[in-house]
Symmetry: C2
Subunit: 203 residues, 2 copies
């Protein structure tokens, strides 16, 4: 059995021991012969996978009552893995969701690092800089580089900390965020834990 | 005498009684016969204005010792107007600067509403929505619209409030920000106040 979290650019597999990624552009899903339990936010791939009998869409097993209609399946699956806490999934977007006593309490969406950088670049050439994460957030910035990195990080971290709950960080940029939230727990397999619970639900 | 704050898109004039705007694309600065004291962030216009003898660049009168080299002249001029407080200039970028006992203590840059919206749109079609500002920030969002507006506003406001100082809001989107910071003072003429002090300095 394999678990697979499919985003816009990659298949993220987990065989219950190791996780690895395959590029959406090149990987052929019919080359996998085992049972695969997946979630998928890629609309065209989602259609294609329906025709493969060993690929099982876990989205069908979600009880959406506790979530809102347009909420991404990846956020929902992460919430399913947590009983109490704030879940920060730092990818192309940074999603921040709060779960209390196993119930989704709400959450917000913040642009990811690349999108934030693009937003700065769209304002002025002077702000078209690569975000660097060596800024000391305890000091107010006195350079453009620090003013941009601080602008991305500090408001977000203050928001996350304001909930005063355990923090779980996952996603491709989890490392960067965790550097500034040392009390948070980094869990690169959080989505897979939520998916496993959904597999168990129907087995 | 006129004061003029020139941005990327408009001349913002103040005749010490009323303020009004002219489009950078159409307005001819040589049509003004009075003395104009200005600041300008538009690089080509800055060159052109140098050839007009009644246009006086206030940037030359700034003591930059307290500021950093690449800091925008508009931010500096706003800081000059405040003795103690947080200055929020909400335009294409939202700049947040702290002044303590008349000295610039540092500040950061956050994308403005349009740039933030563009950042969301760049991530996914599902996030390509116009930001609406009817969201109740006391509740965690349970819709995409609220998740985006909250993502723009709430982290920024928590950051601004964390300094525990008087807050002065200016700029084109000041109204929207102030709606959520009712204890802040909105001052549409803040930059002109700073500019007037610079005019006085040398007169």
């Amino acid at each position: 059995m394999l678990l697979c979290d499919i985003g816009n650019t990659s298949y993220h597999f987990y065989d219950l021991q190791n996780d690895y990624k395959k590029d959406v552009a090149c990987f052929d899903p019919s080359s996998v012969k085992e049972d695969v339990y997946y979630i998928c936010v890629h609309p065209t791939l989602k259609k294609r996978l329906r025709s493969l009998s060993n690929w099982h869409d876990l989205e069908e097993r979600i009880d959406r009552t506790n979530y809102y209609d347009t909420m991404g399946v990846d956020r929902i699956v992460a919430c399913e893995a947590v009983q109490n806490g704030v879940i920060v999934d730092a990818g192309s977007a940074v999603t921040v969701d709060v779960v209390r006593d196993g119930i989704f309490a709400g959450g917000f969406i913040y642009p990811g690092i690349r999108a934030f950088q693009g937003a700065y670049a769209s304002i002025s050439k002077n702000l078209d800089l690569e975000l660097r994460f060596d800024t000391d957030l305890r000091k107010l910035p006195k350079s453009t580089h620090d003013a941009l990195a601080y602008g991305f990080l500090s408001p977000l971290l203050k928001e996350i900390d304001s909930y005063d709950m355990d923090i779980f960080i996952t996603g491709g940029d989890a490392k960067i965020i965790q550097k500034y939230l040392p009390h948070a727990k980094r869990d690169d397999l959080l989505l897979f834990r939520g998916m496993l619970l959904l597999v168990g639900k129907q087995l």
